[in-house]
Subunit: 130 residues, 2 copies
DNA sequence: ATACACCCTGGAGTTTACTCTAAGTCAATA
DNA sequence: TATTGACTTAGAGTAAACTCCAGGGTGTAT
């Protein structure tokens, strides 16, 4: 699969894919004789994983470390597991912040809904919560 | 309340609070005769809201626009409501990405758990999902 | 064989959201 | 009143994660 096809599949730019490879967010991609990237099934899985984790704002450095351990071999299994568990904790924490913001938004939206009908919005309606 | 107290209350730097005020993420804060910030209850509510929304990665520009409308007065109620609804959609979308990443992480973690016990990890265990 | 779209690398530039610095002011304490 | 520590502004600097560019190579359709 060419870089362009991968870009279209995952809706990212070629620059991003090359960047990921360059800094080690994904392992090196297979090449043709002419030096052009030819993504294997395996390469594509790595891309998919990277994009999934980056969408959840997992830091680049953490993904790089994971790939580094992966390439080092089987005696890094335990380290990789720990890294994944840390990542999970981090993402759960982040998600909680989204939930908090949603609660605040829902409160505001309900008050604004009312206000748009009645034409009145008290200051507390805009800034209170819970 | 001094800037330092607000910093401690919300665990942010004074630079961040001044920056938020400067660019309009929060309205201008009340000052003492000497020109020193003296946060009122209302100011603090704005800070709290800004920090809550920024924790959910709501872009600065969106918060600035909200404050701009707020200061413009009551005939922006409908616009502010729309903005809040857009923000909610955005945050729900973002949260979904976190859920996807968590699903992938859980899959990987379960496979790694197994592998750490048995000492074997197939490639698919690391890269498959669902 | 030549045009054309696509690909390559290395390195510089951009964006967002702060974060820091310099040079000075304010306010409480000794 | 002098020191000390917190506060002020304007403006420059920084970190993360891309994003763009120049200059050149690849590959395939005419």
């Amino acid at each position: 699969m060419t870089i362009k096809e991968v870009c279209e599949k995952y809706n990212v730019t070629a620059d991003t894919l090359r960047y990921y490879e360059r800094v080690g967010v994904i392992p090196e991609v297979r090449r043709t004789a002419g030096g052009i990237r030819d993504y294997s099934e395996e390469d594509i899985k790595w891309v998919e994983t990277a994009i999934c984790f980056r969408s959840a704002r997992m830091p680049i450095d953490l993904l790089i470390e994971y790939v580094r351990l992966y390439r080092k071999g089987d005696d890094t299994l335990r380290d990789r597991l720990e890294l994944l568990i840390e990542a999970k904790k981090h993402i759960l924490d982040e998600r909680k912040k989204y939930d908090d913001a949603l609660a605040k938004l829902d409160y505001k939206i309900s008050k604004y809904d009312e206000a748009v009908k009645t034409g009145v919005l008290k200051w507390d309606d805009d800034n209170g919560c819970k």
